[in-house]
């Protein structure tokens, strides 16, 4: 059998080597076609349909209705390929598109995401992956159900898994919509979403985990190639060395020097003062409410009348007319509109210092910053080690040994992208600070116009002080465009822009695939099969899973089409919730034999409740929904931000499990046997039988 395994591995290696070569040839071919004059729109279409078609092809080739293949890819995914698949599963639209942008905007503070989203794999490797693989069933609620006995822990597991995964999948589909509209100008956001949805569905719908795994490997290759090419190019341009990760230290020094210069530059100060004055004027108007509603209305009306009387140009009159027409009608509307004006205050400050650690106006502010940085790292790490769609992947390796190796490969492949993102942020920043800043408005690069047109919130460059020169303070840049616009910022051919968009699409689709499968499996396997109808046949279970997948996918697309404003918060919240809900129960389940049903049940509930309660106290959007009393500052515990609410939930979860377990009877002998069973990769005379073996579907 060992030779058979080797033969399968060689076959995969050969297939993916050819695939990678073929993909590179395809990109080169498109580059040549572009040189010969193929229009840009075509390149966008070709990238979109070629990659989605490819994923669909893999999905169709891997179609299956066998339960072992559908749920865990037949448990024969070699460690290195499972590593790549986990990499694609893990790296979402947020990692691919958003990460470098966050680092660009926040500097050192953003590195909390880099640390948290990689260091969490140490916890996966040391505490979970090998033991879950030995347990060897299908889902994470499966483990909770078997280890703690009974349906209540399983049911809480289902709720937590569905909640975390659903918010996360909505964000992915949103990302798909964003990228499709970028690839094909003229397609509406909603159509983009449903196009992408088709790509997700052919794959996971037909072949479950098997199809998703082999597609994710293919998607990893595309996304890593797409991420590296522009960064290497920028690195050669600015440092002369093609390995950006090694040399961007010197670029960071240059950026720091430019920041110093721009902080005191008189023209920059002039623009920042314009913002400060505007904000102050808006604040004064808000303060004078309700009286200012009438007086301000008179001001805009008078301006219109004056312009009309003076026979001013039509454009100016129209603008003044618009100001009158859109003038807020009620006090509440005025308050909202002027609050928006007052928000430009954020642009009146000096540029952030990229390398500065824990900035703050005094020691206290800096300490609060440090506390939140560490708390965020903690929540992201523990959350990583608790997200069901990632943990589920370690069920698919052939053995415990390969599960351990597979965590190494997972982190290695993730590391390749994550240690590049900070380099990209610094290089892109240097490019903007040294070439865009100080250039003339008459000669703005094409990409500025292109991206401003897509969405003004992504990029706006406006000459506020009317001097014809771009000041840094006049540039408002959204984090999401850093990666997507890098090829254009660096002056690369359009085919690379298409490649990067295809990479972002691969990242979003692969994560969405894994998440949808997690939700559908939790509902079909755990809720339907294990709790409602234990006699259901395999075919019936797989069919139900497929139907649920379709329903959940459409529901997620419908939510994403609403463009929910707080989607980013929801995603980060998923980490804190998963951390508090799953991590204590899973880890104690393996390492502490005394942990029992009631301890785990109440511990999971208490962890989730504490985390959610803190968010309701301190997160603006949830505060309005629940009508929270008191100001945010009053409600905060030790100045921790709501995104890191898990820092309270995780310890509460651990404590409640320990205390309640001691107060209630110890678990019975069968469960003691299960614990021994998962602790040793192979155990002579092991009497524990998983339900998988009992159903004769083992290997």
């Amino acid at each position: 059998m060992a030779t058979e395994k080797q033969a399968f591995f060689n076959k995969l290696k050969k297939a993916y080597t050819w695939y990678t070569g073929g993909f590179l040839a395809f990109v080169v071919f498109l580059a040549i076609a572009e040189k010969m004059g193929m229009p840009r729109v075509w390149i966008g279409y070709i990238f979109l349909f070629a990659t989605i078609g490819l994923y669909a092809g893999i999905g169709i080739m891997s179609r299956t209705s066998d339960a072992d293949e559908y749920y865990v890819a037949g448990r024969k995914v070699p460690a290195i390929f499972n590593g790549m698949a986990t990499g694609a599963d893990w790296m979402s639209a947020a990692s691919f598109i958003g990460m470098a942008g966050t680092l660009y905007l926040t500097g050192f503070g953003g590195l909390a995401f880099i640390l948290g989203w990689t260091g969490g794999y140490c916890l996966v490797a040391l505490f979970l992956a090998p033991y879950l693989r030995k347990f060897g069933e299908f889902t994470i609620p499966d483990f909770l159900g078997a280890r703690y006995g009974g349906n209540i822990p399983r049911f809480i597991g289902i709720i937590a898994a569905v909640l975390c995964s659903f918010t996360y999948v909505v964000a992915q589909i949103y990302g798909v919509g964003l990228i499709t509209t970028r690839l094909i100008p003229g397609v509406s956001f909603e159509v983009g979403i449903f196009l992408g949805l088709g790509g997700i569905l052919v794959c996971s719908f037909l072949g479950g985990m098997k199809a998703v795994t082999w597609t994710q490997v293919a998607q990893y290759i595309i996304l890593i190639v797409a991420y590296m090419i522009p960064v290497v190019w920028l690195s050669v341009k600015h440092t002369g060395v093609p390995i950006p990760q090694l040399v961007y230290g010197s670029t960071l020094e240059k950026v720091t020097a430019l920041e110093k210069k721009l902080t005191v530059d008189p023209k920059e100060l002039e623009v920042r003062k314009i913002f400060a004055d505007r904000a102050a004027a808006a604040e004064a108007k808000i303060k004078a409410l309700p009286g200012s509603l009438e007086s301000e209305k008179a001001v805009v009306q008078k301006k219109l009348d004056d312009l009309k009387a003076a026979n001013a140009p039509v454009a100016e009159v129209n603008a003044a007319q618009k100001a009158v027409d859109t003038f807020p009608k009620t006090e509440a509307a005025a308050r909202a509109a002027w609050n928006k004006d007052a928000a430009v205050k954020a642009r009146s400050g000096p540029p952030i210092k990229h390398a500065e650690v824990f900035p703050g106006k005094d020691q206290k502010a800096s300490d609060i910053n440090r506390k939140n940085f560490l708390a965020l790292v903690f929540c992201l790490m523990v959350g990583t080690a608790a997200l069901p769609h990632i943990l589920m992947r370690y069920y698919t390796t052939p053995s415990v040994k390969e599960a351990r190796e597979s965590v190494f490969w997972s982190l290695f492949f993730i590391f390749l992208l994550y240690f590049t993102a900070p380099a990209l942020a610094v290089l892109a920043k240097f490019d903007v600070y040294s070439t865009l800043v100080g250039s003339s408005y008459a000669k703005l690069p094409q990409w500025v116009a292109d991206w401003s047109r897509v969405d003004a919130s992504l990029l706006s460059v406006i000459d506020f002080n009317k001097d014809g020169i771009v000041q840094l303070a006049e540039i408002a840049i959204g984090g999401d465009i850093i990666v997507l616009a890098t090829p254009e910022i660096g002056g690369l051919p359009y085919v690379i822009s298409g490649l990067v968009a295809a990479g972002g699409l691969a990242a979003a689709l692969s994560t969405a695939d894994g998440l949808l499968l997690t939700i559908a499996n939790a509902l079909s396997h755990d809720l339907y099969y294990k709790m409602i109808d234990p006699n259901a046949t395999t075919t019936r279970r797989v069919t139900i899973s497929k139907i649920l997948l379709l329903v959940v996918a459409i529901a997620a697309a419908a939510v994403a089409a609403q463009k929910p404003a707080d989607i980013l918060f929801l995603v980060s919240a998923a980490f804190s919730l998963a951390a508090a809900g799953f991590f204590p129960a899973l880890v104690l389940g393996v390492f502490w034999k005394r942990a029992n049903k009631w301890g785990a049940t109440l511990g999971m509930a208490a962890g989730l409740f504490t985390t959610f309660y803190y968010m309701v106290l301190t997160q603006p959007w949830l505060r309005t929904i629940f009508g929270t009393k008191g100001t945010i500052a009053e409600n905060m515990w030790w100045d921790i931000n709501p995104i890191s609410a898990g820092i309270f939930g995780v310890p509460v979860g651990f404590i409640v499990i320990v205390v309640v377990s001691y107060l209630t009877p110890a678990p019975d002998g069968k469960i003691q046997e299960l614990i021994e069973h998962v602790r040793y990769p192979s155990l002579k005379g092991d009497t524990y039988r998983s339900s998988e073996a009992a159903h004769g579907m083992g290997h």
Binding site: C122, L374, F415, S682
Partner: protein
């Protein structure tokens, strides 16, 4: 449980010791480094402030090595204590 012998218990305690040591390294590379980031930032490391380098690259490399070492050491331990899976 009769099938758990003293040898098995020794395997498990060795596993726990290895896990604790690696977890300690993980903790230092993450939280001790993070706590003293301001102090470490004064050290220049090939152009990067040391704390920036660690958070962007150094600690990540430590994580990869931790997991690599754990997989390797546990593979050997499995063989040594006769709990390795048979090739099937």
């Amino acid at each position: 449980m009769e099938h758990i012998t003293a040898k098995h218990k020794e395997y498990w305690s060795k596993n726990m010791r290895l896990t604790s040591i690696l977890l300690f390294i993980w903790f230092v590379a993450t939280f001790v480094m993070g706590y003293y980031a301001k102090e470490l930032a004064t050290i220049n490391f090939f152009g990067w402030p040391l704390s920036f380098y660690m958070a962007a690259q150094g600690s990540l490399i430590i994580y990869v090595v931790i997991i690599w070492y754990y997989a390797r050491a546990m593979g050997k331990l499995d063989e040594e204590y006769g709990v390795a899976e048979s090739e099937d």
